[in-house]
Each structure stands twice: as C-alpha cells, then as structure tokens.
C-alpha cells in the first residue's frame, strides 16, 4: 500500500484583484494567503505548517504600489522591501526605506513584502518600529466592509485579523521632516535585529516619536522620553540639541525599554542590550536633528 495517494495536489489560487482574493478566501476558509512567501514557506519547509490551499497575492497590482490620500501615503501591502528601498520611496518615508534596505539579504528583499512583515509580526520585523513611530494605520479588506485600525492594535493582538480578512493598505502620514531607522545586528552581513530604533520628527504636532524594535514582542514607545525631548526642542528655531541631551535621551529610552527589576540586578545580557538601545537612540536623535 502506498501513501502517495494521500498527498493531494497543492491548491493554489492567483487572484488579480483584492475583491477576487477576498472572495477566494471566503470560498475556501482553510486557505492561507501568501505574499512573498519568505516567512510562510520557511514554516512549510520546516513542517510547521501544511496549508490546505494557498491564495497568492503576488498578482494583485493594486497593492503593489502606493498612492497619496490627504497628506498621507497609502502603501499597498504587496510592496516589496526592495521597492521600498529605492530612492523615490526613500524621499517619501526615509525611515521605512532604511528599514526595508536592512531587512535580510537581497533575495529576501526582492520577495518579502510590507504586508507579510506586519502580519508575521515577528519581534525582529524591521518595518514594525517604523510603523509604530509613524503611528500608521492598516486598512483591512474582508467579506464585510473594509476597516481601518492602528497598526499597534494589530501587532499587539488587541484587534487581530479576522477570518477571511486581508491586509490591503497601510496609511502613513507624510511628515516632511527628518526620520531615521537604525538597527544593530552584531555583524556586517544581513542579520536580524538585536535591537532597532525608529525615530521621526513631527513638526506639525511638535513631537518626536520613537519606537524600539526587537527588544520585546512588539515595538515599544518610550512616551515619557519622547515628551521630554520634544520639550527641549526649539520648534520655531534651529531644532537642534546639545550632544548631552541626545545622550540623556538615549539613556532615558533604554531605561524605559529595558527597565530595572526592583530588587534584582540586571543580567549582563540586559545591560548589554540597554547599552545598545541607548547608543542607537542617541545616534538616531542626533542624526534626525543634525
């Protein structure tokens, strides 16, 4: 007796519009969407996942680019890291471009997408701290009406993707001010973040927003440190800070993200991580205000 018969042919749908994709998912609730496959196929190869069917998102032209809407950019979930890394995109959202350029080796960047990065929600997802700092929101397309929620609600699981829903677009306010993304990997070649810092200056709201990636399950926002530093900045003047202020900001962010445990000494690895976050935050702020 052979077990070959049990291996059903992989069922793959390749819709060309969001509506078709949503319909395909509705028709087959066990189907799993796949964009670049750089996260999904690794799980399949490792035997962790055996999807009964796949809905490929690669042919949906409407989510492969971006458009402008009321002072914001509406990014398609199918934008690849490679595309986001290009100069025209970098002129628009510099921090997201920097994150995209650092996300894995070129082969991965050519295939991996913004949507996949968000839905995978890995602690080391490089787009995530940038989206958190930008206070981006995501537009979800599903069998019911589309809905828009803050990206942080999706990442924290407060408001997860519902069955049959697809991540269609990401709305990002265009700030027209400096923003940075810095990532420490411990090596020269491509690697996952040990820690990353996204920092954006928002002159309209007189805010500095910062998010730290890879040190916790989701990007962390050191709100007090943000407010403190925003208070130091002369928003109507040069907008620069003394190096000591940048250093203090770094320490502040690091202590907020890797807090002291009352009564216990911080383990060496945490001390090291704190030092890394402090250096990254200081550098990020320094560059943004340079």
């Amino acid at each position: 007796m052979s077990t070959y018969a049990q291996q059903t042919a992989e069922n793959v749908t390749l819709p060309t519009s969001l509506d078709e994709a949503v319909a395909a998912l509705a028709a087959m609730p066990s189907a799993v969407p796949v964009a670049g496959g750089t996260d999904l196929m690794a799980s399949v190869n490792a035997g962790l996942l055996r999807p009964a069917a796949l809905v490929g998102l690669g042919r949906i032209a409407e989510i492969r680019g971006w458009q402008y809407a009321d002072g914001a950019a509406l990014l398609g979930a199918g934008l690849t890291h490679a595309r986001m890394g290009r100069p025209d995109f970098a002129a628009l959202i510099p921090a997201l471009a920097a994150a995209a350029r650092s996300a894995g080796p070129p082969q991965i960047r050519n295939a991996g997408t913004l949507g996949g990065n968000i839905v995978s929600a890995a602690p080391t997802g490089d787009a995530l701290p940038v989206l958190a700092a930008l206070e981006a929101s995501v537009i979800l397309a599903g069998p019911e009406a589309d809905r828009e929620i803050p990206v942080s609600h999706l990442l924290t699981g407060m408001d997860p993707l519902r069955p049959g829903e697809l991540l269609a677009f990401v709305r990002i306010p265009l700030l027209h001010a400096p923003q940075t993304f810095l990532k420490a990997t411990g090596r020269t070649g491509p690697g996952r973040a040990v820690a990353s810092v996204a920092l954006v200056v928002d002159p309209a709201r007189r805010q500095v927003r910062c998010a730290v990636g890879a040190v916790a399950q989701v990007p962390l926002r050191p709100l007090e440190a943000e407010q403190w530093v925003a208070g130091l900045i002369d928003w109507d003047g040069e907008r620069n800070l003394a190096p000591e202020a940048c250093t203090a900001f770094g320490e502040y962010v690091a202590a907020a993200c890797i807090p002291d445990q009352p009564g216990v000494e911080l383990p060496p690895a945490a001390v090291q991580l704190r030092r890394t976050v402090a250096a990254l935050s200081r550098r990020a702020l320094g560059r943004a205000l340079a």
């Binding site: 007796m1 052979s2 077990t3 070959y4 291996q7 035997g47 920097a98 350029r101 650092s102 080796p105 940075t180 993304f181 810095l182 990532k183 420490a184 990997t185 411990g186 090596r187 020269t188 070649g189 491509p190 690697g191 996952r192 973040a193 040990v194 060496p268 090291q272 030092r275 890394t276 250096a279 990254l280 550098r283």
Partner: protein
Amino acid sequence: MSVIDGPGAVTESLAGGGTPHGIGTSLPSADAPAKTQGTYPYAADLWAEGLLWAAVLRSPYPHARIVRIDTGEAAAMPGVRAVLTHEDVPGDAMHGRLVADRPVFAKDIVRHHGEPIAAVAADHPDTARLAAAAILVEYEVLEPVTDPEKAFAAEPLHPDGNLIRHIPLRFGDPDTVGEVIVEGLYRVGRQDPAPIGAEAGLAVPRPDGGVELYVASTDPHADRDIAAACFGLEADHVKVVVTGVPGAMGDREDSGIQLPLGLLALRTGCPVKFVATREESFLGHAHRHPTLLRYRHHADAEGRLVKVEAQILLDAGAYADASSDALAAAVAFAAGPYVVPHVFVEGWAVRTNNPPSGHVRGEGALQVCTAYEGQMDKLAAKLGLEPAEIRMRNVLATGDLLPTGQSVTCPAPVGELLKAVRDADLPPLPDGDDESQWLLPGGTSGAGEPGAVRRGVGYALGMVHVLGAEGTDEVSTATVRVHDGRATVICAAVETGQGFTTLARQIVQEVLGVEDVRVLPSDTDQPPAGPAARGRHTWVSGGAVERAAKMVRTQLLQPLAAKFGMSVELLTIADGKITSYDGVLSTTVAETLDGKELWATAQCRPHPTDRLDETGQGDAFVGLTFCAIRAVVDVDIELGAVRVVELAVAQDVGRVLNPRQLAARIEAGVTQGVGLALMEDLRAPRGIVKRPSLTGYALPTALDAPEVRIVKLVEERDVVAPFGAKAVSAVPVVTSPAAVAAAVRAATGRPISRLPIRPQAAIVKPPA
C-alpha cells in the same frame, strides 16, 4: 575578492592566454561549468527506480536511559516498509575511528542530543518522518555532563572513563622562570563545518546480498570498512561510491546517515534514499572541539620567550572520534611557531554529553593559535614592544626544535612571512564625502557612526602539520592509463571541492605531456587513497599520480630510446609531441602508442612517524606549514560591532601548483576563520543544541568576508614532498581567528580572550 601582489608571489599570470596546463598554471576545475550551471550531480540529486525514503529518529535529550522502544505503531503505518533499532544491527553494534565507542543506534543510553535511535524506510519522505515520530521511546532523563572541567569526576559516559587522552608534554627545565610573566585564559567555541550542500545518500542493495552506498564520503574505504562491520558483511560486499561532494570542511555524512541507509536497503531489498534536514545535519556531524586554554608565558626583558606553560582541555562530546589527533596537534603546537627552550603542557580530551567533536580543518592547531597569539600580545603590551616586533624576536626557523623534540627539517620561513605582512601597505581608511556610503561595522543596517569607529591592526602566526600524525600509515595508490593520446587517472582520493582532480590532471599533463587528462570518480573498487584531510591528497595522492605517470612515461619512451640508442632522460614530451634533446627525433605520443594502452599503478608512502610518548616527545609529523596574517578591523566601540576590513596573508606553500586554486583555498580558509572569530558558535546550553539552522547559526556572507590580500607566497620547496609543494588549506583557517582577535584587541584595548568575539567584549566603556 582577493588581490595577489608582491614580487614572485605567483609563478604565472592569472590572465595568461591559451589553455593553461601542467604544474604552476591556473588550470580551471573540470567540474566548474557543471557546478555553476546547476547540473553537477550532488548526493541529494540521486535517484533510483522504486526507491524508498529514510528518516532517522534522534534523541531529544543529551543524556538519558532508554527504558523502552516501541516501534509497533510506526511499523503499522501505511507506506512504512521497515523500522530498525539497535536490535536490527546484524554486525558490530559499535564503531569508531580509533575506539569503537559509538553505537549505530543508541541501545540503553543516549549520550548526545540528536543521537540516532531508530530509522524508518517508507514510500514517501513525509511518511518516513511521520513514522519516525510515531516510534515510542520511553526515556529516563539523566543529568548531562556538559562542563568539560567536571567530566573528570563525573559518572563515566563510557566504560573506559571520560578521559579520552591525556598528553603531558615536558620539554626543558620546569624550574626556569622568566623576567616577565603573563597569564591568560582563553575559550574557543563550537564551530560547525556547515557544509553548504545537504548531507544525503542512496543505498542500493545488490543481488549478491551486498549493498552499494552512494554518499558524499570524504574517506570511502574507511566508511566502507565501518559499514561492512556493522552490516555483518565482508568488505567486498559493500561498495562506497563517492557522489558529488557539496562542500567538506571536515567529515561529511556522519555514520548516523550511512549506516541506517545501508541497513534499510539490506532489510527492504529496495534502494533507499536519505536527505538530512539542516537541523539533523547540525545535530549529527562532528564539530570543532570547544576548548578551554590556560596559559602562562615567561619571557626575558628583551621579549625572548623563556618558557610556556599551558593547560588545554578539549571537549570531545560523547565519542572519541578524532579527538586524540586534535589533542596531539594542540599539545605539539601549544607554543606556536616560536622558539621556546622550555615548554610544559597538560592536554586532555574528555567526554561530555555535548554535541560530538571531530575532524574539522586545523583541529587542535587553531584553538592553541588563538591562545598563544593572545599571550604574545599580552607580552608585547607588558614589555612595551610592537606586537609584530615581539613575534619577530622569537620566530621558528628550519633546524629549530619543536617542543615535542622533533627537529624542523622542512622549510620554516616564519620570519619572512611575518615581515611580508608587516611591511605590506595598510588599507586606506574609508573615504568619500558621503559617510552613508561607507561600509562600517554593523554593515548596511545604518547604525554605524564614523565617530565611534576605531581601527585596529593585529598579527598572528599559525602552523599546522600536514598528513596524519603519530604513526598513521599515510599511503595512497593511483593508476594512470594512456590511450589514444589522452590519459585517465584512477584514484580513490575524493574531490571535495579542494581541487584534487585538477591537481591530478596538471601532474599528468606535466609528466606525460598530454593535455587531455580525465580523472575517474572515486569508489572502493579502487585501491584506497585515505581521507581527504590534512592536505594529504596533494602529497600522497599527488605523489602516487606522479609516480604512476612517470612509470607510464618510461614505458612509453623506453622502446624509442632503445631504438635511437639514447637514454630516456634525453627525451622530452610536451604538447603531445616527443622530441630528443638534439632535435633528431620528433614524433607524437599517439604515433608512439600505436593503438596500445599503457597502464601503471604506483603508491606514495611518506616516511613513518612516531606516536608522542608519555612526555609528549616524538617525531610525530611528516611535514609542517606556516602562515602569517595581518588583520585590519574596524570596531564600533559603542555597539561592539566588528568589521574585518582586510586580511593580508603570507603563506609558506613550498611550491605554487595552481595559482588560482591556491588563492581560492586561502580565501576560503581565512573566511572560515573569520566566521569562527566573529559569529560561528553552535550553542548547546545543557547539551541541547540551540537554533540548529542557518538562520540561528550565522555564517559569513560576502559582506562579512574581508578583502583577502595574498601578499606573499613563499616557494621554498619541501624536498621530501612531491613537487616540493605543501598543503595549503588548513593553515589560513588556523591563523585568521587569532589575527582578527589581535586586531580587535588593538582597536579596543580589551583583552579578547574568547572566540567568537561577542559584541560586549569589544565595547569600550566611556570613562565614568
């Protein structure tokens, strides 16, 4: 990218016109086109009609007693054709290179995470895997021995005890004391050979009751002998056929692959294929010995070494494997390529429940290089000398004694090598106005800050022996056949990618003047050639090929010489033509052959060596080779990120046989060393291998690999070696980690006593 410069560095321009052939040319590898086009057949590509798929069940624990194994459910699964455990091994239950201490399948006790317990053959790989997972094993988990320092006193993991070997080396006067003393404790992590292609194999049963194993073996005859003994068959009933080897930095395809495959094929009567997952590969094959080294160096006020004391502890994992050899190298080279009148070393290799250690290029020699070079830097700092200067004052030369009492008879141009790297131009600092375009430590991720980057320059001198040591019978046999104006080489020396077949072709071209030379694939029907390790094949198999080719040459020329009344020596062959010294005679090889075939088989067996005695003394090595490396690194002293900017290499090669291949071997070697220096460490806390994947275990990529600059190749012939050539692959691996560590030390002022260098070790704390 490598750059070769310096006068006399290369004997032939890399861009020379025409098809190069013969010794000293950059003859390209015959496999290269197929490999680059993806048509080269590797073991994982093998196929046989009606084949079954194997899966191996491996222990999830590093140390446990097996209470019960129930294969019933697995065997009953549809599609499953056989399930084997220790009860199904018809021959020897245990095997091993020197000590038969490793079971085919664990019986009562498992001794490391990933040890094979059972194997399944089924009609689909997923079925085989599911069935393996359905085998019920009841374990009584035991406390693992994971600290090699505690192995001495721990419950024995083997009836012989946990001490695999102890070498106390005594050389000189133990009471001598130097004016300056420095001490250090060094640790080297567990490097995985990480062969880039999947470890795989196919076993095909034979009608005569035997079996053929198609595997990417690096030592087919040894593997055949082990397999035959475990299968309970005569050796001539097992044939190992070497398939395309996708990378081998040490041994490939641990016995946990070959033996279950053969047993399953014999049991089912069907061909059986196995392709290891990356995870199994990390769990199964041998790693570089994690090593703990304690050193005390004594010097006089001028920085001349007086005495070296060392304690070296190798973590062998549960089985003896090649640990005895690694220990001999570590102890013998404990002081490095320096003249030291008094040397006292205690070396131990012990059993633990950590992942198995074994042969990985430069074993033993690499770990001590890291330590003795760390000590040289400490001495230099203490005496206020330049690191290159203190080394120069102590370099070994031909005629000096090793601490084993063996006199160095081969070329040992250590000082010349050091001078070459010391005097080479330093690489420029990053320049250009756009700082964002600089490749800083931390790479392209944007975190690097020029103001936090310090550059450091460090030196290391390394040495390694070539060929097996301590009385190993080093021998190889080769056959050369000439027919229709072309030649064929038959030799069981495995082409692992190291370039042996190219070398064999060059040798035959040189001796016989025929350009068209083919090398047949290796299998165990051919006479043994021994393992592809320790630069052996350049020497012993290259030597055997040369001898066989010379015998054919004599057979070819003898009748001509007799006819013309001159001696064979007065005839030359080049480009398929035979001419006499005076130009009177001129004919072709094809014409002289006149349709005949000429065959000759020859052996090469270098002079014998001794086992190190109870005080670590003896002529244990056939040959030695040396290397000097100057590393230039940039360190982000706040993040601890290190980028190796350049490695300048000077190497003692005897003779350049193939310049391009030689450069590739050096580049590959130093890059493997950089991997160990900066990132490669298979972590196994409490004996459990963590993240056994190529995401979890980082290897150097093109961005991590430095510019490799070969500044000098010293071509002082080693008169006892064929062509005077030395093995070239291991010594750059041995030397580069120490050079990188020295450069990081120089950049940061931190001690750097542990490899890989963790970021926290390279951070310079701002003054409080």
